[in-house]
Each structure stands twice: as structure tokens, then as C-alpha cells.
Amino acid sequence: MSSIHRASAGLKLGVSLALIVGLAALPAERAWWGLGALPWLLLVAKLARLSFKPLLRRWAFGAPFLLGAASLAWFQPHGLAAAAALFSKSAICLLILQLLASTTSIVELTRTLRSVHAPPVLCETIVLLARYSSLLGDEARRMRRARAGRTFHTSRIREWQALGNALGLLFIRTVSRAERVQNAMRARGGA
């Protein structure tokens, strides 16, 4: 836990938003100014003791999408410059967002959402989303192991059919489990 991790989520969110809005407001000819934020962002990553390799890998995973979207700007007057400006802007924004995501926990996020008076239903759904994702993953792993145990030999079309059935079944099994959890919580006086 570095000092960046411990800083309040509202502050981090505010700073990131201010930076991103500033970048969005830059005119296309001045988009290169955005690169000035890069050393500061790297400093923040250093202070947060994030290792650069995973950060870079995640950035490189998102960058092709940015490139694809930016290339749509090619087809207008001064298209190449516009596309390059868009790409550099959005690449910096992506880095900011990744720093924010990797230093903010879900608990803090929901706390911040509550404090800005986001609707309680939404906050509750986000908390349950985080809770049930791991449940869903466990259930999926169990079902995959069961299928692997029973299937000796399969064709591709059978595999797709099985996958389709498994998706539906996964949803139903998790719904049933969630209902059990909800009932248990209600029995103890919660929810």
C-alpha cells in the first residue's frame, strides 16, 4: 500500500477527470502538449510502486482499439495529423485511467459513489457484481471440470452446443445460488 493507494478515491478521480478534460479540450494542433503529462504519470506509477511491465502490457492490450478508432479520423482534411493527435490524446488518457484503476479498490469506488449520492440501487448492484463475479468464476470452473471429466471425444459443433448450454446453465445456477444467499441473509435479519 503506497501513499497513492491510500489517497482518497474522490481526490484521485477528481485529478484524473481534470487531466482528461484538459486533454479533451486541447485543439488538434496542440495535441502534442499532452505528452507533457507523461513524465508525471510515470512518476505517479513509480510512487505507487506499480511495476512497469504489467502496466505496459495492459496499455498495449488497449492501444490497438485506440488506433483503430483513431484511424477513422484519417478520412478528412489533414486526416493523418488529426488521427495522430487523437491517438496520442487517447493513449495518455488510457494510461491515466489505468493508473486510477490499479490504485483504487472497488470498496473505495462504491464509497465514493455513495458520497456523491449515486442511487442506492446502483451502488448495491455494483457491490453485488463484484461479489458474484468470483462466485460465477468458481461455478464456471466447476462446470468445465465436470464436462472435461465426462467428454472423451468431441467435435467442434458439439463443443459449441455444449458451450451454449453451459452459458445458460451457468446463469441459472448462479441465480439459484444468489437466491439462497439472499434468503440466508434475510433469515439473519439483513437485506
Partner: protein, 324 residues
Amino acid sequence: MHIPDGFLSARVALGYAGLSSLGLGVACYRLRARRERGASALLGVSAAFVFAAQMVNFPVAAGTSGHLMGSALAGALLGLPGALVVMTAVIIMQCFVLADGGVFALGANVFNMGLVGCVVGYCCYRLLCGRAPSPTRRVASVAFAGWCATLAGALSCAGQLSLSGAARLSVVLPAMLGVHALIGVGEAVISSLIVASVLRFRPELLESNAQGALAARPRASAVYAGLGLSIAIAGLLAPIADAAPDGFSRVTQALGLHSSTASPSLAPFLHGVPGVVSGVLATVLAGCAGTLLLFGLCWLLALALVPRPRSTEPSRGAVVESSG
């Protein structure tokens, strides 16, 4: 379809943030007004499911990939307000946990995939389903609604990009619609698979929604019809306004490969309609033909997915009724 930060101008981002928070506010208000027992668990599970399903990418033609959007599916399972809350939660989580889609563009993303996706998906679903749908009809409706919702979301996304000056509408619109017409097919298949399983094992999850347990009571189906139709008309008029074929030829010429490989677009329809001189008419005709074709495919898919009822059951019921 997640718009990253840096593509939208401040005016567009703020405008759409306002629109989607308005929609979200209405949805939360209506959810709180008729809160059911166990509803929050169902919302949470659906959100987790959509979140997980969105991480699975399937390949689409020409080197792009797509994933499930899930708003039509959520609409069918949870009703309009519930679906909107679920989609918003998913988009917020993706933004803050996976850095997928921008913070400043959050409002626009919620508008495209949440508001537009859910409203169009839910309207199509309810319109096609009617009052007491058979399982086949329900599955076909979900499939077609999923396709329509994907296309509508792509349309709105293209509009935002061109409003911000990131790209010309005549370029971004055909590109987005072309790719998402294919992604929508994947969406239709996955949504219908899930709904078919739910119908087989837990049909009451869909029935309770039809009676309005989680859903806001539909005031009049005319409202939904109007909403869906207006968005559909906007979808048809937008390419006409900006002469899509022009953009098409420019994209295909510039990229080169798109014209030779199986094109991820409506381009073959556009240029191939015989005896139609006007490009605008060709666009409309191609759109209608493609949509009708897709609806037929959805129906076939539903026929394949829903098991035939055993022939003894209905006849026995009929005998009992006639004798009693």
C-alpha cells in the same frame, strides 16, 4: 463500442452524461417504487453475468473482434429499469477496474450501451413478443432484439464520434454499422441460447417479468412502439442524410482489403440491388432486406433451440377440456 477518453469533445461528453443520468434517475426511481423481494440478488447476478460475458471476445470478419453487449438480454430478463441499472453498473465497473472505456466518456457509453441498447432491445422484444408468447416466439424475439440493440448502440456511438469532430459521419457510420451488423449476429445467438436455457429450467424468471414484478408496468404498448419506431426511423434516415454509399466507397478504396475479402458491411447489398438508380433508395431497400433476412434467421435459430413439445401433452389437454 466502448468509447475511450480523448475522442469526445467536452460538450458532447457532458451532454450525453446529462442525458444518461436523467435516464438512470428515472430507472432507479421506478425500481424503488416497485421493489420486489430478492430483486437485488437478481440484479447483482445479472450484472456479474453480463460483466463476465463481455470479457469473452469472438472474432468478426476482417481482423476485428466483438463481444456480447447484453442489454437486450437484460431487458428481457429484468425489464427496462432493471436492465438499465445493470448495464450502468457493468460499464462503471469496466471503466474503473479494467480501464475499458473512458471516465469522461462514461456518460456517452452508458447512453449507447445502456439507454439506447436497453430501450431499443426492450421495445423490440415487447413488440415482437406480444401478450402470451410461445417459447419459440420469445427466443426469436430476444435474438432479433439483441441484433437491433447492437445496431442502435453502434449508430448512436457513430453519431457521438462525428458530433465531436473525431471522424466524419460518412466514414464512421458505415464502418460502425457494418462491423456491428456482424457482432449483432453473435449477440443474437448468445442471447437466444441463454434465454432458451432459462425458458427450459426457470421459466418463471421470464414470466414474472412479463407480469411486471421487476419491470415498470408498461403504460401503453403504443409508447414502446413509438420509441422503438422513432429510433428505427432515425437509424434509417441518418445514412440517407449523409450519403452513406459515398463513405463506403471511400473506406473500401482506402483500405483495399475490405473490398476483396468478405466485406463486413452492407456494401454488397448497397451496390447490388438491381434496377435501382438512386443510392438512397438502394440503402433503404438493402436495410429492409437485410433486416427481414435477419429476422428469418432469428426465427430459425429459435426453432432449433426450443425443444418441440411432446405431442401427447396438448392433445390430452384438449381431450380433458372437451370432456369436462
